[in-house]
């Protein structure tokens, strides 16, 4: 009865088939998205989660490190710090040849002491002290006059210039009492004319010419090249025609140079010089440091007992210590005392410190993986240890190093957070200001405003690599810096006001600053710095120098900020527009000025919308590699951004902002694209990607939560 009476029965036919096919296509399209999403997420989760599980919180809190894979012979009674043993277990979860582990406390002999205020010490010992103590060492200045005690092992004949002899006699009783005989020594000088030109000379020749009065600019680092390959050709630029006198040695070196662009032989000028001859008897002497190094330079034959770090004069330094006294391992302390006999040390006490260690055996030959720091602790702990047959206990058969394949992602994670935070502060500030101006003040008037809108729209479509190059061109290399030590390579600079403080010693040496004594012309200072082969100069003025911010956090943050600006501006403008007109009118009718009305009756109600824009911005910024590649990111950095800051808070802030950082996307790019593939780096890749995804999600959800909180408060 149902088939005849139902007037609404489905009619079969072509239309119905077509309808079904269309529906199927729609379903297919939708589900393919889900399929791909699931695939990607599954891939990352299934491979990343086990990594996080195996390495635990270590993965988040450790810095990226190299992985050392060592093959060992069987060995017993090997020692390792307890902390590193834990790492050993984590990294080699199923190594079953480790047997017989037992805990014990290993004791180390230290000496505690205090250094009297105002002491001087050489650089090498300062770094030893900071290695074993929680101290902050400020380099005050180098003391060229600090006395050095040295020992002469044999009677040594010396030929001194009268000036040097006079200085020696004045500063040391021992020298005064020596019998000195004046004598005449003739030397040959060669007059050589150099024309303005660029040419090539060997590094060893440049080392000789450095002592002459020739003005030149050298491209490249002389000291490095000199160490590696003294015969390497280096480009030299002579800025103007000059005639200089060269000594016999300089002239010889110059003539035998294999480089191109010779100027021909010099004209000989014979001069005779008065010298003082004397014999330095064997014994111990004390001299100001500067005199001693001059003496050494002129008489390399002078046999002396070894002085620690003679290249640089001892340092005056200030130590700020969290500990009551300083400590050094016994052996280091003994060496310190021996090398610095004049150093005033007080409160010297022995100290025994015991640290928890683990003793264990390798049952059979095996391979273990460990991050570099733990591996070196392990090696150090067993250094020199021998078993009953006189064989070394730790017998390494083979070792491999895989860069970036261990440790964790703390550096990149912190770097990314800093970049994102700094970028969003800049972008929100500029973006909201621009949106308020465009939307509230400028309205739609004028070709200028429409040009701005058009360029903003175009900016949104620019590929991110272009932003990277743009940041490199603007922020990294020409942005202005206020500094008393402008770089010699800046675009241009001008004086602002006299400098208040001279750069500190550490700064002078680190930044290769040429100290120019009151020269009023910056061009002379610049020339002098160039001639010395240094990178910047200080002449008592503070400059506004367009030298760029370098590869730095701040340059990266600005580049990223400019990249997200279009997003932020457009959506901020939208949210400003969405605020009911009534609020504006009501506040104006109550006597508000335009800015007051915007500030109190418009902006607060646009915040949720602006925050939504930041969500988009943050996730995009956090994930970008290209813009930070040239502006902020470095592949490897041994310190976290917070460590190694010193000076006034303002100074620390500037230092902080001008350092380069590691960033997570760039780190992932490095470990998956730049390094040779190996089984050891795979876990790091997937682990890092998973961490990255989690972070982006946290960023997004914090912003969403903020927005919901705001929405709950403000409704209309």
């Amino acid at each position: 009865m149902q088939d005849q009476t139902n007037p609404f029965a489905t009619k079969k036919g072509f239309l119905q088939t077509k309808e079904k096919a269309q529906k199927f296509l729609l379903i297919f399209g939708t589900y393919s998205i889900i399929f791909f999403t699931l695939f990607v997420f599954w891939e990352i989760l299934s491979k990343g989660a086990p990594v996080l599980y195996q390495y635990g919180t270590d993965f988040i809190t450790r810095k990226p490190e190299s992985l050392e894979v060592l093959a060992f012979d069987a060995g017993d009674k090997l020692e390792i710090p307890k902390k590193s043993y834990k790492t050993l277990k984590t990294y080699n979860p199923d190594n079953n040849s480790l047997t017989g582990e037992e805990s014990f406390d290993k004791s180390f002999e230290y000496t505690t002491f205090n250094i009297e205020k105002g002491s001087v010490l050489s650089d090498a010992y300062l770094s030893e002290i900071s290695k074993y103590n929680k101290v902050k060492i400020t380099h005050l200045y180098r003391d060229e006059q600090a006395p050095v005690v040295f020992e002469v092992l044999n009677n040594t004949p010396l030929l001194l210039t009268p000036a040097l002899y006079k200085k020696l006699a004045n500063s040391s009783e021992a020298f005064k009492n020596l019998s000195a005989t004046p004598s005449k020594v003739s030397t040959n000088l060669y007059e050589v004319t150099f024309k303005e030109k660029s040419f090539y000379l060997q590094a060893k020749t440049m080392a000789l010419l450095a002592d002459s009065s020739l003005i030149y600019k050298l491209y490249g680092n002389l000291t490095d090249t000199l160490d590696d390959k003294p015969n390497e050709l280096m480009e030299v630029y002579i800025p103007e025609n000059q005639t200089v006198l060269l000594t016999e040695a300089q002239h010889q070196g110059y003539l035998s140079d294999t480089g191109t662009g010779k100027f021909g032989e010099g004209k000989l000028q014979e001069t005779s010089v008065k010298k003082i001859a004397l014999t330095l008897p064997k014994g111990s002497y004390e001299l100001p440091h500067q005199l001693f190094s001059t003496l050494l330079k002129n008489h390399p034959a002078l046999a002396t007992s070894h002085q620690h770090s003679l290249a640089k004069a001892p340092l005056y330094f200030a130590i700020k210590s969290n500990q009551k006294e300083l400590r050094l391992p016994n052996s280091v302390f003994q060496q310190l005392k021996k090398d610095n006999p004049l150093l005033k040390l007080t409160d010297i006490n022995p100290l025994t410190i015991s640290a928890p260690f683990i003793r264990f055996n390798f049952g059979q030959a095996c391979q273990i993986k460990l991050p570099t720091t733990d591996m070196s602790a392990f090696k150090e702990a067993n250094e020199g240890a021998v078993n009953e047959y006189g064989q070394p206990r730790l017998n390494i058969l083979n070792e491999y190093v895989y860069p970036y394949s261990s440790g964790g992602v703390s550096g990149p994670v912190i770097g990314t957070m800093l970049l994102v935070a700094a970028c969003m502060i800049i972008a929100l500030f500029v973006g909201v200001a621009a949106a308020v101006y465009l939307g509230e003040y400028a309205k739609n008037s004028g070709p200028l405003i429409s040009t701005i809108r058009l360029s903003m729209m175009n900016l949104a479509g620019v590929p991110s690599i272009v932003f990277g190059l743009f940041g490199l061109g603007l922020f990294v290399s020409v942005a202005p810096v206020i500094t008393s030590a402008p770089s010699i390579d800046d675009k241009f600079k001008f004086k602002i006001f006299p400098a208040l403080v001279e750069p500190g010693l550490a700064e002078i040496e680190d930044n290769r600053i040429a100290m120019i004594e009151d020269d009023k012309n910056p061009r002379h200072s610049l020339r002098a710095a160039q001639q010395k082969g240094l990178e910047s100069f200080y002449d008592g003025w503070v400059y506004l120098s367009f030298q760029g911010w370098g590869n730095s956090l701040i340059a990266g943050a600005f580049t990223l900020a400019i990249m997200v600006l279009p997003i932020i501006i457009t959506s901020s403008e939208e949210s400003l527009k969405a605020v009911p007109k009534g609020f504006r009118e009501a506040s104006l009718a109550l006597g508000a000025t335009k800015w007051q009305s915007i500030r109190t009756a418009v902006l607060p109600y646009a915040t949720p919308g602006i925050l939504t824009a930041s969500v988009l911005g943050i996730t995009r910024v956090a994930g970008e590699t290209a813009p930070i590649m040239f502006t902020a990111a470095v592949a490897a950095k041994s310190d976290l951004p917070f460590s190694d800051l010193s000076g006034s808070p303002l100074n620390q802030f500037f230092d902080f902002m001008s350092q380069s950082v590691q960033a997570l996307p760039y780190h992932i790019y490095t470990i998956s694209g730049k390094l040779p593939p190996s089984e050891h780096i795979k876990p790091m890749q997937y682990g890092s990607v998973l961490v990255f995804m989690i972070i982006v999600m946290i960023f997004a959800s914090v912003s969403i939560w903020l927005r919901m909180k705001m929405r709950g408060k403000i409704k209309w």
Binding site: K443, S445, P580, G582, F583, R584, E585, A586, S587, L588, A589, L590, G591, A592, T593, Q596, T600, A601, Y605, K713, I714, K715, W716
Partner: protein, 260 residues
């Protein structure tokens, strides 16, 4: 009810023409109206005839419209032409408050809404603020209803309360003149009665200009009434006279409800 014609009216609109499109067409055409002090003046007329436009010209809130301009005549308030460059619109608006058709309290607490105008004028002593807020709320006959929930959001109030809050917010800055654009259009009869009562009390202290669509309301509360039609002022006379004895045919048609 006759106004004392010797005293100078506080608002003088003199042959005033106004355009929303840079003078192409005039929305208001040669309007002349004067509102005496401490009296209620009502603007009536069919929708789109320019009542709100004229009202909004009185405190220069029309400055917000970029293309708006005055094409003829002037408006003097307290004897001063308000459209000269010497007049600061902010100072003007402090003296000429406005209550809008759709009640629009800020999404803040009741207290903050009332204190908003005072806070704009700089930092105030807390006790002064408290006093001013109470006085304004009492003035707007709202105090007893909200005195226990001053810190609650204003959006939790009923429509009539919200409109009275807007009035309180306006009188808090102590204006001389209050402009009201259909203050009761979104309210039910009881809330309307509340607001009308309030207007009758406010009359003691303030000059009020009110736009209304309700003929009854105009007769109940206003002293003088102006009837507009398509941007022109058709008739302006004391309310009783206008309703009982209209001089113009169109006024008669409108007030008797024969066209709308």
């Amino acid at each position: 009810m006759e106004t004392s014609s010797e005293e100078r009216p506080i608002i003088e609109i003199d042959d005033f023409s106004f355009s929303y499109n840079r003078g192409e067409t005039d929305t208001l055409k040669n309007i002349s109206v004067s509102c005496p002090e401490k009296k209620v003046t009502a603007f009536i007329g069919p929708s789109g005839c320019g009542k709100s436009t004229l009202l909004r010209s009185l405190n220069r809130i029309n400055d917000l419209v970029d293309t708006a301009c005055i094409t003829n005549g002037q408006i003097r308030i307290m004897g001063q032409d308000i459209n000269t460059p010497e007049v600061d619109p902010i100072e003007l608006r402090k003296n000429v408050g406005m209550v809008f058709q759709k009640y629009n309290p800020f999404p803040k607490s009741i207290y903050d809404n009332v204190a908003y105008g005072l806070n704009l004028q700089g930092k105030q002593k807390q006790s002064d603020l408290d006093d001013a807020v109470e006085k304004s709320l009492r003035g707007a006959a709202l105090w007893d209803e909200v005195k226990d929930r001053l810190k609650d959001s204003a959006l939790g109030l009923s429509g009539g309360q919200q409109q009275r809050l807007c009035i309180a917010r306006t009188i808090a800055v102590n204006p001389k003149i209050i402009l009201m654009d259909e203050p009761c259009s979104a309210l039910d009869p009881i809330a309307t009665a509340h607001v009308e009562q309030l207007i009758n009390t406010l009359k003691q202290e303030y000059t009020i200009v009110i736009v209304t669509h309700s003929m009854q309301q105009a007769t109940r509360i206003s002293d003088n009434t102006a009837f507009f039609y398509l941007g022109e002022l058709i008739e302006f006379s004391p309310t009783k006279e206008l309703f009982s004895n209209p001089k113009n045919k169109r006024t008669e048609d409108y007030v008797s409800g024969r066209f709308g």
